[in-house]
């Protein structure tokens, strides 16, 4: 029994470590390089141009997950990981949420989906990603997590809606969908948050939310501030020490700076026609 607990703990830690390493890697080195990714191979171009949830998409997710796992320094010491199944799930999750949102933006900008559809799909995908992740790799998290995530998801949906001029009814609908996912998951998550877990948990949740929010809305800072405010309330209520990172100012996001934007253009990603959704441009060019 003791061994089982130890194994479970290691598995969970491996999942969290992999997620942290890759979030860092992807945020700094990968996500901003999408333009190069699109031009890397015809299959990746077709990935962006194919319908949402296509089989081409699934194959691309798998190939990219595998390529990161095979080449990233974060996995040099592979012996440190106990459960490679968990690493696979975590990595696929990170890849999915990044690429799928980028594909949604691409489809919205090329007019293949409306802004309202974009808003709905992005928020629903957020819910699905959280649900799939919780249901598989991170089942060690507290039964209280759904409530916390539910709040964050509602806020994110709200800001998404504000950004995309979707009415509050739709916001509620999206939030309700997310709540539905969490309530379904609730019985499966058995352990309570402990004071030792809270910092790790909140960091994970906030980082996850920031990542999602950054790609779909200009309001990421506000979302994160709200998440942090919830985190503080939670700690105060439980009379836990408030982790220092909750007091820090969120990472700033540069918007509307022509030198700091990657423009995803209409239809053809390399044409010069500007559109109205932008993400940060890399500051280091890629060697081809």
């Amino acid at each position: 029994m003791k061994d089982d607990n130890k194994k479970q703990k290691w598995n969970a830690a491996a999942g969290v470590n992999a997620a942290s390493c890759l979030e860092m890697l992807l945020r700094e080195k990968f996500n901003d390089k999408m333009e190069s990714l699109i031009s890397l191979h015809p299959i990746l171009k077709m990935f962006f141009d194919s319908d949402l949830d296509s089989e081409i998409e699934k194959n691309a997710f798998l190939a990219i997950s595998d390529a990161i796992f095979t080449t990233a320094d974060a996995f040099t010491n592979k012996g440190a990981f106990v459960n490679f199944n968990v690493i696979g799930m975590t990595l696929a999750h990170i890849i999915c949420k990044r690429l799928y949102l980028l594909k949604l933006i691409y489809h919205a900008n090329s007019g293949r989906i409306t802004k309202q559809q974009f808003c709905d799909l992005a928020a629903k995908d957020l819910a699905v990603e959280i649900a799939a992740l919780l249901n598989t790799a991170w089942d060690f998290l507290s039964q209280k997590l759904p409530t916390l995530l539910n709040g964050i998801a509602k806020s994110l949906s709200g800001f998404l809606a504000a950004q995309c001029n979707v009415d509050p009814a739709t916001v509620y609908l999206v939030a309700d969908t997310i709540s539905g996912v969490f309530s379904k998951l609730h019985p499966q998550i058995k352990k309570y948050i402990t004071p030792e877990k809270i910092e790790e948990l909140l960091k994970t949740v906030i980082d996850f939310t920031l990542t999602a929010a950054r790609q779909v809305t200009a309001y990421a800072e506000k979302v994160v501030n709200k998440c942090k405010s919830w985190g503080r309330s939670l700690c105060e209520k439980y009379k836990w020490k408030i982790p220092a990172f909750l007091e820090e100012h969120p990472k700033s996001i540069v918007l509307n700076d022509p030198n700091n934007e990657l423009i995803i253009s209409k239809g053809n990603p390399f044409s010069q026609q500007p559109i109205n959704i932008t993400i940060n441009k890399p500051d280091v060019e890629i060697e081809k």
Binding site: H41, D53, L62, T71, V128, V171, N268
Partner: protein, 154 residues
């Protein structure tokens, strides 16, 4: 500063390696498609792909459909597994990634038709005042949830 330069260099090296590896995997996969040469040649000319308004050309759409059918019949797992050469850890890794993707697909299907309440909500929230009140209510609900969490724990 030196550390920063080193970090940038490491980043650049990793990205190059990553791209090289990914390209090799996708090339191997593409080679299994019987019309791979024609498709590659077709895609090299951007004018073949997009109309002036940014939409996909009919021919490009057809190619995507053909490749989609090919992808259904030829999952990329086989190519990846051949790269692994029996490495149990990598096989486990792939299994986990596939499980995650299947579960994600399953959830997407399950929640795909969750828009049935939209009409009702639009009827109820028929004015700006009501909508604002509703948004405030959502925030109040969240506060209440946090309070409930606290009392549950105490």
């Amino acid at each position: 500063m030196d550390n920063l330069k080193q970090k940038e260099q490491d980043t650049s090296t990793w990205i190059s390696t990553f791209f090289e590896y990914l390209r090799s995997i996708l090339d191997k996969y593409m080679q299994q498609f019987d019309k791979s040469k024609e498709l590659t040649a077709f895609m090299q000319n951007e004018q073949n792909l997009y109309n002036k308004d940014g939409s996909l050309t009919r021919e490009y759409q057809n190619w995507i459909k053909r490749f989609e059918v090919f992808s259904m019949d030829h999952p990329i797992d086989k190519i990846l597994e051949s790269e692994y050469k029996g490495d149990i850890n990598r096989i486990e890794f792939l299994k986990g990634a596939k499980e995650y993707l299947s579960h994600r697909q399953e959830l997407k299907g399950k929640y795909a038709n969750s828009e049935s309440g939209e009409e009702w909500l639009n009827t109820v929230l028929d004015s700006e005042e009501k909508r604002k009140a509703f948004e405030t209510l959502i925030d109040k609900e969240l506060e209440q949830e946090i309070n409930n969490m606290s009392s549950d724990n105490n």
